[in-house]
């Protein structure tokens, strides 16, 4: 069942129209019918009353004799008396309507009283339908009792009167059995219902009017209420569906519909504006967001460090350009792989990182190595856990910083620091040694002098005494040598620096040693760079250093069973970021054991037996090179032999080599 509430307004209106109209009409029609009925009844009542009156009057009359057409009632066939005449006159005096009259017949159809057909027998009369209405009347009358009234209607036309149009006649009758009289009165319905006609017309007019009124009301309602409402409703619907350009126009200006329409228009306007604002806002925000994303994307992509995210199982979910470049693998190669595949420490490394992360939440400056395409890279890792909005771990973020350069710098720094420490040690020692040497000088000189005197006074023939004194002299000589060494060590001697090529002292030293080396079957390989920039150096001292180093190399090769090779050379280099030259002396000997490599420059350190050197050589070399602003590096292993590299900064005014 469709409920009324769900119908559209117009439909509702139509329903209301009919709901009002139908009862109204029905009421009106019923009224009409009732009215008609009442009128008819009233009209018929008149007829009935006439019949009744006549019946009663007749009944009261005594001794009435009426001639009848029937032969059977001969006893009563007498001349009419006064009562009879009166009664007849009474009957004939009645006029019902225009042409209606009262009459009497008997049950055989004999007309007893009638304005025109007295004495006739009309038993077989037929109406215009052919129906024997008199016969019907008679038949019914006989059965009637008391003051029962019968009614009959039939179509009739009184040709005799000149009527041409058939009309319905109505006859009311009663039966007076004592005389076998059917007392009747009849008239054309039309005539007795005359009053009904106008009433009917009026009523019809009313009905029509009321229909029109209801229609008019409905149309008015439709026009003034439903239409605007529907308009607004449609506009609202369109608005709701996204069409924001809605504007309702109603004809009224001040009524509630106008208010509604205006409010609607205002709201639609506001909505449209708000929507426009919102759209603009969203556009702006989207643009801002895009820019922000772009900015951050740029940041992430342009940083040199590698940024990587991985999920909970350690699979790489994102790798930035920095990572791609660092490792030398394509992004597609990285994403989807397990991150520990790129750790030198493998899955164990990943596990320990994860343990730290879980404990601390994030880690910084965690040192490890990554496996790149062509090498392993030392890395500082910063990592943190990624969480979703509920705080659950979703993965981790790692930032990898290549610290190769840093490591190298660290190494260089360590070397420089070691160098400084060494220098300071040596300087302190030098001061000490200088002091000692100084103290020894005088007694030594005195001793040597006295020995000189003693020797002079000795008899040349006393060989024993001469030998003894000679030994003393040798002792003094050695002491002197040691003191001189010590003084050299503490740089008591003067250094005279001049712009020279580092090749010069090295080549000179080589010349001195060449013969000896050849005798030992040492293969000498020279690789001097010819056009090296000049250094400020003391050629003699540098020669001494070269000699010392070559001597050490020679000693190393002397006792070894291997292939005897000595490489000497020079090249361009750099020291602390400034241009420098480097000279190297490399032997193919057994190398210096790892555990004493940092001790060799220490004074008095020697691997040789007693009497075979003071162990001051390398420390003095160190000091001399340090005086030149340079450094000696050691690179030694059993496979590669021993290589000493001297690095001295170039003369500061000229960095270009002489041509």
């Amino acid at each position: 069942m469709i409920s009324f509430a769900n119908l559209k307004i117009r439909t509702k209106l139509v329903v209301v129209f009919f709901t009002v109209l139908l009862p109204l009409l029905t009421g009106e029609l019923l009224t009409l019918w009732y009215f008609q009925n009442t009128l008819q009844n009233a009209a018929e009542l008149e007829l009935t009353n006439v019949v009744k009156h006549l019946y009663r009057s007749s009944k009261l009359q005594k001794n009435c004799h009426f001639p009848s057409g029937s032969k059977e009632k001969t006893a009563k066939n007498q001349a009419p008396n006064a009562n009879t005449v009166f009664l007849e006159k009474l009957f004939l005096s009645y006029r019902i309507g225009k042409t209606g009259y009262a009459f009497v017949i008997d049950t055989r159809g004999n007309v007893i009283i009638h304005p025109a057909k007295k004495g006739q027998n009309i038993f077989d009369s037929r109406d215009l339908r052919g129906f024997q209405f008199i016969k019907e009347i008679c038949a019914r009358a006989e059965k009637m009792e008391g003051e029962a009234i019968g009614t009959i209607r039939y179509p009739w036309v009184n040709r005799e009167e000149g009527e041409t149009v058939p009309r319905m006649k109505i006859v009311k009758f009663m039966y007076l059995s004592k005389w076998d009289w059917i007392v009747a009165a009849g008239a054309y319905e039309e005539e007795i219902y005359a009053a009904v006609g106008p009433v009917e017309n009026y009523t019809f007019l009313l009905i029509v009017l009321s229909v029109f009124l209801v229609l008019f009301l409905t149309l008015a309602m439709n026009r003034f209420i439903t239409r605007p409402v529907v308009m607004i409703s449609k506009a609202a619907s369109r608005l709701a569906n996204g069409n924001l350009e809605q504007n309702v126009h109603v004809e009224s200006e001040r009524d509630e519909l106008a208010i509604l329409a205006n409010s609607f228009n205002k709201m639609a306007d506001q909505i449209r504006q708000e929507t426009e604002n919102l759209e603009r806002l969203v556009d702006n925000r989207t643009k801002e967001l895009k820019e922000s994303i772009e900015k951050y994307r740029n940041l992430v992509e342009s940083t040199v460090d590698g940024i990587v995210t991985s999920d909970r199982s350690g699979t790489i979910t994102f790798a930035n350009t920095g990572m791609v470049k660092m490792l030398g693998f394509e992004r597609d190669f990285l994403v989807g792989r397990k991150i520990w595949k790129f750790y030198v420490g493998g899955i164990e490394q990943a596990r320990s990182i994860m343990r730290l992360l879980k404990a601390e939440g994030n880690i910084t400056n965690y040192e490890q190595k990554l496996i790149a395409k062509d090498r392993n890279i030392p890395i500082f890792t910063s990592a943190s856990l990624l969480r979703d909005s509920e705080g659950k771990k979703t993965g981790s973020l790692g930032i990898f910083s290549d610290i190769s350069v840093r490591k190298k710098l660290e190494k260089d720094l360590q070397k420089a620091q070691a160098s400084i420490v060494q220098t300071m040690k040596l300087r302190a020692l030098g001061d000490l040694v200088a002091g000692v040497a100084h103290e020894i000088n005088n007694p030594l000189m005195a001793s040597t002098t006295m020995l000189h005197i003693i020797q002079k006074n000795l008899d040349g023939c006393d060989t024993k005494m001469n030998a003894r004194v000679d030994l003393l002299r040798k002792c003094n000589e050695r002491i002197t040598k040691i003191v001189n060494h010590l003084r050299e060590f503490s740089r008591q001697s003067v250094m005279e620096k001049a712009p020279i090529s580092i090749n010069e002292p090295l080549e000179n030293a080589l010349i001195i040693c060449t013969q000896q080396l050849l005798n030992m079957q040492v293969h000498v390989e020279k690789s001097f760079t010819e056009e090296l920039p000049l250094i400020m150096g003391d050629s003699n001292y540098l020669e001494q250093v070269s000699l010392d180093l070559i001597a050490n190399a020679r000693d190393a090769l002397e006792s070894c069973e291997c292939e005897k090779k000595l490489c000497v050379g020079s090249m361009l280099s750099e020291l602390d970021g400034k241009p420098a030259v480097a000279a190297f002396i490399q032997d193919s000997g057994p190398g210096i054991p790892q555990n004493i490599q940092d001790k060799i420059f220490e004074p008095f350190f020697t691997t040789k037996g007693a009497g075979k050197g003071t162990g001051l050589g390398l420390s003095i070399c160190y000091g001399i090179i340090e005086e030149h602003g340079g450094r000696i590096d050691l690179d030694s292993s059993p496979e590669n032999g021993t290589k000493f590299t001297i690095i001295i900064p170039c003369e500061s005014n000229r960095a270009e080599p002489i041509s």
Binding site: H438, L444, M445, T449, M450, H452, I453, V494
Partner: protein
Amino acid sequence: MGCKILLTDDDELIVMSVESMLELEGYDVTTAYNGREALDKASKNTYELFVLDIIMPGMSGFEVCKALRNLEKYAETPIVMLTAKSTELDREKGFAMGATRFLSKPINPTELLRVLEEVVLSK
């Protein structure tokens, strides 16, 4: 030779050993243990050659050298300076003060004798 030498050094070992050696060679050696004493003796006597240590308490050898040169009689006299330290600066200073020669200790006795001979001969 009989050349008169004034030997000045604060270390008696040096003084005694060098004096012995020089005497053996025929020099006439007078000794002094500090600058004051040296100048004192130098002014009182006349010497033909000075052998001076530099590092001494009180007046340094440089000051003695300068003072000697200020004395007219010693304007041209050879002065040989001995020192345990011998830097470029010291040498320059020495020569600026008027030293004739500069020797570093420990000095070989034969070397010393040779230098003295040289200096005396070139006078």
